[in-house]
Amino acid sequence: MISPEVSGMKDCACWCFEQEHECPRAMIGVNRGYIQTVLVRVTRRSCDESHLSLVIHEDQLSLPLLYNTLLHQPILMTHKWRMDASVFLQVSTVTDEPESSELISPAQFVYGILGILCGSDRNSGIEMQDLPQSVVKGVASFSSSKEFPDAAFRELIEGSFGVLLNKSSEEDILGTLEGISFIDLTSIAAPNLSKLDAIDVKRAYGSLVSLILEAAKINADASLVKEVLTQEGVDAKRVETLSKLYNDTRTALRTTLASTTFHLPQVIGVDWRLDYYMKSNTQEKINLPLYTVSIDLDKTTHTTQIQTREEENAEESGRTDASKDKLTFSCNQDQLTDLVTKLRDAVKQLERTHNTL
């Protein structure tokens, strides 16, 4: 928390927000009383003033306006001082009332600042440390033009991205496993690749796909991909092609990755039926409306996006798809009213949260 000598403030209520150590930290204190003072402490690995384009107006602005100016315009700092690689900024505004109901919460204010500070910082500290060495070294296998001719390289990247985006299957690049022969690259789709040694092709494909997927997973910039590739000595031209292709397909890759997950059965549709329950063999003159509701559920979990030809054929031949299900139940009018009220409540909650953000 802020020490009294540094801030010179009394009756200070402080909120401290810690982020990952790589990212800026902001600590905010708001004085109670007529003088609203905001103290922002920014800690960076390399604290460079030129990056701090925080300029705060020294006017009689209430906090909301201050918040808006933070987002849209540079703001003037009133005081600034350094202490152990941190920069303290002090902003003072004078308001008429001690606490105005229009004031935004300090949390929002801090997030506003952090939004700006973090904006330029997206990739700092994100490293592709999770890639195993075999993958990283495998990248080297398509690094040079001598061992891996250009035509083959082109086929490799086209094929890999095609597989990742679900447009083609792995067999187009790698061939199929047939009988005793280990790998049979007789596919017409990749003639140049089939001329190379099968193990090399597999290694190249594996490492390329892993690299691209890992980059997409952490939403890395193309520059990070370039870094990793150049580190392993891939040709500059090839690095360019790869990173450009990665950048173009980044959102599509992230979308496919987002659906590669497991989940509970999901609601995809609903059917309902209204009956008039008149009599049964045990009673007559019942005369009550009765609803039967059937909710369609989708149980598919895409834990692997890459399907082999056999799996695709199986689906086409119309075998029963156990991934669709229905949840059927009956209810009378009161119960359905109860159900609908609860659902509407849930929907309204989200709308309310969305409006306050």
Partner: protein, 199 residues
Amino acid sequence: MIILLEDKHKEDLQFIKEQPTEVIAEFVRISIEFLRRGANVKLYSGASKSLRVPVAQVEAVVEGLSWLFAEASRLLVNEEDFLATLTILGFSPELNAQITELYISHRSEIRTIQSQLSFDLPHYKDLNWRFDVQLSSRSLRNQVTPLFTLCFNIEDNGETKKYYVESDYTNLKHLADELDNALRETKSTHSRRIMRNIK
């Protein structure tokens, strides 16, 4: 709707005519207890001893009365019709009034028992919901995906099963809208006409 009793029934119930009011009330009580829980043989032997009649006679009377009440509840016979049924048997008016009163007071209970005899579709009991935001998964970091988790409590033959289901906002809204339409159907003219006319 008047219930027409078979002759054998009428014979069994003739026995009641001669009995004093308290005994009749006792018989009615026993017959309703019979509907609730089945025959109680000890009670019959006790009654037969006190009334000096064979047990079979007591049983016949009880079963006859039970059948009368059950049938009347099943058809939801109203007071006048029930009175008319009793008049056919030739009971005295006070007796009729008494039995009718007892019938009316126990009718809803008998109907509840009867409804339990029928089969039941799995029906809705309760719904719990929860709103989450998915931040990451093994395949993808840095996500912000809102989603709802619902728990339907469905009762089937006495046991309550829980069904956990996921949904996003659009599907949930669609679900709520569709079921709202379903509810509004009961208020439509067509449904109202049918419900009013089928009595």
